[in-house]
Structure formats: structure tokens, C-alpha cells
Symmetry: C2
Subunit: 211 residues, 2 copies
DNA sequence: GCAACTTTGTGCGTGCCTTCACAAGCGACT
DNA sequence: AGTCGCTTGTGAAGGCACGCACAAAGTTGC
């Protein structure tokens, strides 16, 4: 996003502009930016190139991190072909599945290998991030393999809560839950004067239920 | 998840068990459940079937909501074929794209139509939720069409911040940002004794930057 | 050089969310 | 029937994040 601004010819950008574009409070944005150091100029704004550079440095975006994708189903296939990851510094460098019909084929020039090869291949290619797009029951086994391979970041699309050692960080993405949250908010808004006390609590607390 | 518990033969479940399974604090879980009424039995736990029923009622999961999917690229194609939505009460009932090569084909038995047909088709099929998986530049236009069609929940996968009227609820899903958050947390953890004050602020505030 | 305007950086108050801790209630066992 | 153990439901406290509002600092115009 900052990159776009830079290409559009903007030399500097004010916190108000950035805040309006991202829908965040300007004060909060300035406070966040102040945590990484004072790189703004009072009366002018933030120099786009300097800000971009500093953010990349702090967020660790300056070195690319290899991603392994396990589970070449519908979703996995799409993510393997999604160009957005590589463009943001996360090249998908290894694909895995259990299906013998899938093992051996190439997607976007990347060979699909058997899950048994996860430890070896991930170590060889220095994979630091794993994405799990398998069906739920297979996810924990795959996760264990990734952890064994030294992967310490896992993005989990399977509808299960993964058990991992403390040093491993897991983020869960459940698209159906996203839809439920949306539907819940709108349903609540339709109730004229609905109890404002229970706003969001239920959604946060009971996420992941499956009728 | 509760459904799985029920099938596994558990009649009742305690807040501690549920909390352990979901990784949430037990007290918070109980408080959340208390907001929808007291359906637990002290000394025993929560009756699984009753709790499931109540949660479905409160979360509005008892009536299915039709979903329209716009943008049949890699990701859109995968989501159109993803069975998880229909199983959770969100049947994908309409597909749209601008590409003439795609318009007319069927995915999972659903016809892909031109985006110009969005207002008419969405109204006819009573679509309440829209999912946008178009490239960034096309997203706002598609969004406007959906809003015009009366859609009030939008799940946005495009890397832009959508401008919508107040009554429309938008949720943004950016998978690259998820990876960045993961990478950031692990990078921070590697810094021995890194400044604990700046924990997460930067990630929340500056989400969506693109180098 | 001075005044007026802009924009950053931040101290402080407010309100929400989380979590601890405990009373109330229910079942089992004697 | 009474007691003991277990679990829910909730009051209260603590912490955290958000956002207002203002001082500091820089730029522009005269």
C-alpha cells in the first residue's frame, strides 16, 4: 500500500491521509509509528521511502521467507497459484499431498511431493512457514511433520485447533467463521435496540462451532 | 466443533474442557455463554445438544444465507468448489466474473454470469452475503454493485479498503498479512529480550503495507 | 525575522476486555 | 438427610488499548 503511494508520485504522506486510507484513527497510527522511531517530519508528514524502509526492517520483510503448502485440494491449489504471496516476500517453494495422483505434478512450476518428504525437503529449502490446507483429520499429523522439520510458523486453514510446542506460532484462518461473524453482526443490527452489552462477546468466545 | 463432541458420545461438557479445546480462558467462555442465558447445570456442565441449539439460535445459524462470489480467479475458483461453506449454512448460489471465457461455464453446478447481472440475480436469489475475490482495482466497482443489490455483508479478499454505506458490514481477509503477522511474531521472539512494549501494536496499526 | 499554519509525538483520561476469585447451586455418596 | 466435591455464574479488580487534546517543531508567506 505504501508502495502504491510511492509509485503514484507522493513524496511524503501525512498520518491523516494514511489513517483515512486504512480506516484507522490518526492518533493511533502516529503512536504506532512512534514505536519504531520518529521518522516523521513535523509540519510535513512521513517520507514515503524512508517509512517503507523502516517498516520493512521492523516487520522483518527485508528477507524473504520460504513457504511450504500442504494439502493440494481446492483451496491449496488456489493458494499455490496465488501470486500475492511471492509478491509480498513469501515465495511458495514446496508443495505436499498424500494423493498419489497429485504427487509428481507441477503447479506454477513447483513439484508436488509426498508428505513423507516434508522434514527432508523443508530443511533443505530452509522453509520457515507452513500452510496447512488439508482436511481436518489430517491436519495434526501434517503439523507434527512440519514442526519436526523446524518450521515455527504455521497458518492453519483446517477446522481444528492444532497442538504445538510453545516455540511454534499458529494462526488459524476459518473462512466459514468469517461469514458467521458477518452474518451475526448484521442479524444483531436488524434487531432494533438489541442488547448492546453482548456485542461481539459471543463471536469471540465461541468461534469454531459446527452445527 | 460442538457437533463433533455430540457425535463422540459426550452428553455434557464442562467449560474447562471447552476452553482447553479452543485455547480460551474458561472464565471468559462461561461469561460469554452466560450472555445468551444460563443453560449450564452447576456441578455437571453444559448439555451439548441444548448448548448447540441455543448457539445456533443466537448466532442466527438456523436459517441459511445465500452467498454470491465475484471474481472467479484462482482463489474464487477454489472457494466456489469449497464444501465448507454449504455445510455451515452458507450455500454459494451465484458466481460472477467479467471474463467472457468464464461467463457461461459451470462450477459445482453453478453458472458463472457477468458482473452486470449482479443486481438482478442477487435480488432474485435473495443473496445476503457477497464475497469479493477480484483483483484489487476491480473490487470497489463490484462492491458498489453488490450494495446496489441489497447485499449488506461483504467478505473482501482484495487488497483494498472498500468504501461502503454505514449499513453495510465489510470484513477484510488478507492472507499475506496473516503471513506477515506470523513472521513478525517469530522474528520478535528470536530477539532475546526484545522490547515487550511494542508487542503487536505495529502489526495492528500498519496492516496492509506492500513493499 | 516574525507570525500563522501544519503536522508530528505523546501525556492522560476513559472505557472495554480479560481474568481472578468466590458465592450459589447441583449431584453423588454415605 | 447431610455432607462433600464439582461446576456454573458473576462481582470486582487489573490491565490494556483507544482516542482526545495539546505541546513541540517545522514550513510557508510576508
Amino acid at each position: 500500500m505504501l508502495g502504491e503511494l510511492g509509485e503514484q508520485g507522493a513524496d511524503t504522506v501525512s498520518s491523516d491521509e494514511l489513517a483515512a486510507a486504512t480506516g484507522v484513527n490518526p492518533a493511533k497510527l502516529r503512536k504506532d509509528l512512534s514505536y519504531i522511531g520518529s521518522y516523521g517530519i513535523r509540519g510535513v508528514g512521513y517520507e514515503v521511502s524512508a517509512l517503507t524502509h523502516q517498516l520493512e526492517r521492523v516487520l522483518g520483510l527485508n528477507h524473504r521467507q520460504a513457504v511450504a503448502l500442504v494439502g493440494i485440494g481446492n483451496l491449496g491449489h488456489a493458494l499455490a497459484g496465488y501470486g500475492g504471496f511471492d509478491g509480498r516476500g513469501f515465495p511458495v517453494t514446496a508443495l505436499f499431498d498424500v494423493d498419489p495422483d497429485l504427487v509428481g505434478i507441477h503447479i506454477n512450476g513447483i513439484l508436488v511431493q509426498d508428505v513423507a518428504a516434508i522434514p527432508e525437503v523443508c530443511r533443505a529449502r530452509d522453509v520457515t512457514i507452513g500452510m496447512i490446507t488439508t482436511p481436518g483429520p489430517a491436519a495434526q499429523g501434517v503439523c507434527d511433520l512440519l514442526v519436526e522439520a523446524g518450521v515455527r510458523c504455521i497458518l492453519n486453514f483446517a477446522p481444528v485447533v492444532l497442538q504445538v510446542p510453545g516455540e511454534v506460532e499458529v494462526r488459524k484462518v476459518d473462512l466459514a467463521v468469517e461469514l458467521q461473524i458477518l452474518a451475526f453482526h448484521v442479524a444483531r443490527r436488524n434487531l432494533t435496540g438489541g442488547d448492546p452489552e453482548s456485542n461481539g462477546h459471543v463471536v469471540n468466545g465461541a468461534g469454531g462451532l459446527k452445527p
